[in-house]
């Protein structure tokens, strides 16, 4: 059993999810698959939790750390994860993702999301090609204009690449609540498939305008900084979880924070970043079990605001 390549094992586990008896007979823990949401422009379903790579995957040439990140990816895929997000701005992160994919085997359903981040529009294609090589994949699924940098120059290129089958989806990103006016304008005027923005229990400005607009325009939403780069979790962990967290199957603050985000109907997926296998499993767990309804979401936000 230990000799079964992990990719095969993962596929087996996928099959086994539908055959619980066989699973338990063979002594494997039954895998609960994460809930998914459809990308509005295509109907393709993606798991509600993805994986970020800012800081966590920027480990340079450090072999030990690279292997540790490969294990995070393995656990992520084993738990049913698909979407990984990176950028040329993240130092060695793309290369480390590529290392991991090579080491553990690239799952057939990987959803590779990257960004173009360069002020010279002409240089966009070369940068995306360099990124693709670092990941070691035939093409990206999603290419986003990072922080709207030179978006006027990059978007036509991205649409052309999508038309030529070199990409599947086009998007734009922001974070920290920046340039929401520009985001709204692009969402209203350009045929983009995805937006990426910051949304969490305390940074909720996007509820006013961008999230409703995304629903209205049929644009998928990727949520970054779900834990405010960890500081939100560190603050929350000083308090105990409210007993009613069990009503939405939360066993940790991380799951509490993630369930709040992914239960918003406009959100397609959240992309927490982590260096730890136990954390990636915990985060994937947020896409399973009961999800909060409107009333519960309001209660969650109010509870955190009072802490």
């Amino acid at each position: 059993m230990a000799n079964i390549p992990d990719l095969t094992r993962r596929r087996l586990l996928g099959t086994i999810a539908a055959a619980p008896l066989l699973g338990s007979a063979m002594g494997w823990a039954q895998q609960v698959r994460p809930a998914t949401r459809a990308i509005p422009s295509s109907g393709e379903a993606v798991p509600l939790i993805g994986l970020g790579s800012w800081i966590t995957f920027n480990v340079g040439h450090d072999r030990v750390a690279r292997d540790a990140r490969a294990e995070v990816m393995r656990a992520f895929f084993q738990a049913g994860g698909r979407l990984i997000d990176s950028s040329p701005m993240y130092g060695s992160a793309q290369e480390v993702i590529g290392y991991g994919l090579k080491k553990i085997g690239r799952p057939a359903d990987l959803f590779a999301a990257d960004k173009v981040w360069i002020s010279d529009g002409e240089a966009g294609r070369a940068q995306m090609e360099a990124s693709r090589r670092l990941w070691g994949i035939p093409r990206f699924d999603l290419m986003q204009v990072h922080n709207l940098l030179a978006w006027q120059a990059h978007l036509p290129t991205l649409f052309a690449m999508k038309a030529a089958g070199q990409l599947r989806y086009v998007g734009i990103t922001t974070s920290h609540g920046r340039r929401h006016g520009d985001m709204a304008q692009i969402m209203a005027g350009q045929p983009i498939d995805f937006v990426q923005l910051t949304y969490n229990l305390v940074d909720r400005e996007v509820e006013q305008r961008l999230l409703p607009l995304a629903r209205e325009r049929g644009i998928a939403v990727i949520v970054n900084r779900p834990f405010q780069q960890g500081s939100l979790i560190r603050r929350l962990e000083r308090h105990s979880l409210p007993p009613w967290a069990t009503e939405i199957d939360c066993s940790s603050w991380a799951q509490f924070a993630l369930k709040f985000i992914i239960s918003h109907p406009a959100v397609t997926c959240a992309i927490p970043a982590t260096t730890r296998v136990d954390h990636v499993r915990e985060n994937m767990g947020a896409a399973t079990g009961r999800q909060p309804d409107q009333a519960m979401r309001a209660r969650m936000a109010a509870f955190v605001a009072r802490l």
Binding site: N58, H61, D62, S92
Partner: protein, 230 residues
């Protein structure tokens, strides 16, 4: 990055403290026992300073130039650049400092040990000893592994501090052109450590600013003394 000035310092930090210190650990491991050679160079700077004279000053400048050049290549370019997109610029700045040391120190002999004041002399020696012997111990004392120690001649911070020490005791007429890069480096390094929440973030910036103040004070005194004589 668009609107980068609206980001906090902590938002700009692109690696974790763990990754940063691992960089020194792997560097030390891969280059052992070069640390001993670096220590010999450091002790040579001390010995030359004790000997005094113009030739000693030129030799000190040459040693420092070699160290700055090495760090530009061996540390910034080869290693730090793998986790920090700005490290290519740091490498360039370190090359410039090496060239300045050759020009002002080796060719023009501006590093001759003649301290302007007794305070400068003591502070210069203190800073040099601190950079050589105390700085590498800070990390281990704070609970980081000794394998991650930052040593003179190999790591940028102690090398910048040692250079400032040398500049202090060569203070007859301060070679001002040799100050900006080490001081700027110490401030930048302090900011990086602060963003990583390293408790020792203030050490290099404070030491560098102290050196700058003492050098300016010494220059001022000399100028006044010169005026009263003249």
């Amino acid at each position: 990055m668009s609107e980068w000035w609206t980001y906090g310092l902590r938002d700009l930090l692109m690696f974790s403290a763990q990754t940063y210190y691992r960089l020194f650990e792997l560097y030390n491991r891969d280059l052992w026992p070069s640390q001993l050679l670096a220590l010999v160079l450091g002790v040579a700077v001390l010995a030359l300073w004790r000997r005094g004279g113009e030739r000693a000053g030129r030799a000190i400048a040459l040693i420092l130039a070699v160290c700055w050049l090495w760090i530009a290549w061996g540390f910034h370019w080869q290693r730090y650049a793998s986790i920090n997109l700005a490290a290519g610029y740091f490498a360039l700045a370190f090359v410039v400092q090496a060239l300045l040391l050759v020009w002002l120190g080796v060719l023009r002999g501006r590093l001759t040990p003649v301290p302007a004041t007794r305070l400068q002399q003591r502070a210069g020696l203190g800073l040099l000893l601190f950079a050589l012997l105390v700085f590498p111990l800070i990390g281990p004392l704070l609970g980081r592994s000794w394998t991650q120690a930052e040593v003179f001649g190999m790591a940028p911070d102690p090398t910048a501090l040692a250079t400032l020490g040398v500049l202090l005791f060569a203070g007859g007429r301060p070679a001002w052109g040799l100050f900006p890069i080490p001081v700027a480096w110490c401030l930048l390094s302090g900011a990086t450590l602060w963003a990583m929440e390293s408790p020792d973030f203030a050490v290099a910036p404070l030491a560098a600013l102290l050196a700058l103040v003492l050098a300016a004070g010494g220059a001022l005194r000399r100028a006044r003394a010169g005026r009263s004589i003249g």
